[in-house]
């Protein structure tokens, strides 16, 4: 099986003024191709942060993230965009539709970006 996601010692700490708020503490795990993974936990447990880090939307404070073997830490913004566009599918919790587009066009939009 091919490994598509790998996290090594990923830590994410948010700074709330002078108070450091840890969201992820030393996460190590991998996802194989074809695998179905669900991340569950209470509100504020760091699920969204983890997904953001995997999606290249957020940088971990420590540790490394690999997507299909590629290290995300050194990628530029454009490369990360291409990666999100071509390799990752995002479904937002609150849909986040583009208001000026119709339902069909919203669905079509990512395909058009290709």
């Amino acid at each position: 099986m091919t490994e598509i996601v790998r996290l090594e010692g990923v830590t994410k700490v948010y700074q709330d003024g002078k108070v450091a708020v840890p969201a992820l503490r030393g996460i190590n795990f991998s996802i194989q191709k074809g695998e179905f993974v669900a991340i569950a936990g209470p509100s504020g447990s760091g699920k969204t942060t983890l997904l953001n880090v995997i999606g290249g939307l957020d940088q971990p404070s420590k540790g490394s993230v690999f997507l299909e073997g590629r290290y995300l830490g050194k990628m530029r913004r454009g490369e990360l965009s291409r990666l999100r566009l071509n390799r990752i599918g995002f479904i937002f919790q609150s849909y986040n539709l583009i208001p000026v587009l119709t339902a069909f066009e919203n669905a079509e939009f990512v395909l058009l970006l290709h």
Binding site: L57, R77, R82, R84, L85, N96, I98, V100, L113
Partner: protein
């Protein structure tokens, strides 16, 4: 293609704001086009009037004449000179002239004045003096004793049509010479200087007064169909007259430097005024685009999450600015041209603002200004406004492209 579609729809999200911005671009462009059109028209009319009341669009004279303005410095074989420019299609008419200083006397008193010896037949198609006659007629014969004088001069000498005057001047031999003249017409141009100081007499009377030979003149005035051809015709004339070493070819700018300076200075102040208008409009456009970008930060975050390249986002916002500019410039150009057309036909009546005659650099300005927008000025202004709109869009576009998706998503809608 989707960028244009998306940009177009984004533009109409806030219809009122977009319409206000388009109106401000449109208003600025209309204002600029009207001012430029009136400027072009007024300067053109002033130059034409000055040329037709003075020494033509192009003046041929003795190379040394302008240094001393001496009647001894003449052009001799004018027939040969005339042959060199007669066939040029830009040349509408030409007229031989003898210019000099003299004393005009009546039984009431004397005044110093400048006379222009003219060939009445040739002048009929060129000079503006004929249109400005308020009493009597224009000069008829080139041998006659008729004189056409200004209204101010007639007042000062207390002379009317049929009145006699004596002209006294130094002839070419340096002796005092005199001739009897009879007033045949009185003109009023509105220029204090011309109406009080200039008068016309027949060419041969001037020759006789000064003791000049037939064919001798101090000046050949050349009139063009379009004053904008002046520089181009001067080039041709200089080439055609290269063998005539004594002949100087001068443009109206050299003969009337005050008028040339006025046109240049006034034109520059017009440009400064337009730049100020453009800056105000640019601030309005910047405000609109920046507001619409700041309002959509969350949406930009979503687009970036979905994988939109930041560069595409930059183009999207720039396309919005481009469409905004295109709409403003198109409506502005149409309305600007319509206003220009109105002012070309009806004119702008200066008497609404001032009841006095306007005299600039010795040229009486027609109180009704007519617009005449030159095509290149139209193109430059439209392109400048359009480019300005896009330029103003760059900062908001860069701001949009630099959005950090996670941060704007966290902030929420």
């Amino acid at each position: 293609m989707w960028t244009i579609r998306l940009a177009w729809r984004n533009l109409w999200r806030n219809k009122r704001r977009t319409l206000i911005t388009i109106s401000s671009i449109c208003f600025g462009l209309v204002l600029a086009l009207v001012f430029i059109g009136l400027g072009d028209g007024t300067y053109g009319t002033m130059i034409d009037s000055a040329a037709r009341l003075g020494s033509g669009h192009i003046t041929l004279e003795n190379r040394d004449y302008r240094m001393s303005l001496s009647t001894r410095l003449t052009l001799h074989s004018i027939d040969d000179v005339v042959k060199r420019f007669k066939g040029l299609r830009e040349v509408e008419e030409w007229a031989p002239r003898i210019l000099g200083q003299a004393m005009l006397s009546t039984s009431y008193g004397s005044v110093g004045a400048a006379f222009i010896g003219v060939d009445p037949e040739r002048e009929k198609g060129t000079t503006l003096f004929i249109e400005k006659i308020i009493e009597g007629t224009y000069l008829e014969e080139s041998e006659g004793r008729g004189a056409l004088i200004g209204s101010k001069m007639a007042e000062r000498l207390k002379v009317s049509i049929g009145g006699k005057m004596v002209i006294t001047a130094n002839n070419l031999q340096g002796e005092i010479a005199g001739e009897l003249l009879k007033v045949v017409g009185i003109f009023k141009t509105g220029s204090e200087m011309i109406d009080g100081y200039v008068f016309q007499i027949p060419l041969n009377r001037a020759r006789k007064l000064l003791g000049m030979n037939q064919g001798e003149v101090t000046q050949l005035a050349i009139f063009l169909d379009n004053q904008r051809d002046t520089d181009h015709v001067i080039e041709k004339l200089k080439k055609n007259l290269s063998n005539f070493k004594e002949v100087a070819v001068l443009s109206w700018r050299e003969v009337m430097p005050e008028l040339a300076s006025y046109v240049e200075l006034d034109g520059s102040s017009n440009y400064i005024f337009q730049i100020i208008i453009f800056i105000i409009i640019a601030a309005g456009i910047l405000n609109t685009i920046l507001m619409s970008v700041l309002e959509r930060q969350f949406e930009f975050g979503v687009l970036l999450c979905l994988g939109m390249n930041p560069l595409n986002l930059l183009f999207l916002v720039l396309t919005e600015a481009l469409l905004l500019g295109l709409l403003g410039v198109t409506t502005g150009s149409v309305l600007g041209l319509a206003c220009n057309h109105y002012f070309t036909v009806k004119g702008f009546n200066l008497t609404l603002l001032t009841s006095e005659d306007v005299d600039i650099s010795g040229v009486a300005l027609d109180p009704i200004l007519y617009a005449h927008l030159y095509p290149e000025h139209l193109i430059i202004t439209v392109v400048l406004v359009f480019l300005m709109t896009i330029l103003v869009g760059i900062y908001p576009a860069v701001k949009a492209a630099r959005s950090v998706p996670i941060e704007v998503l966290k902030k929420g809608k």
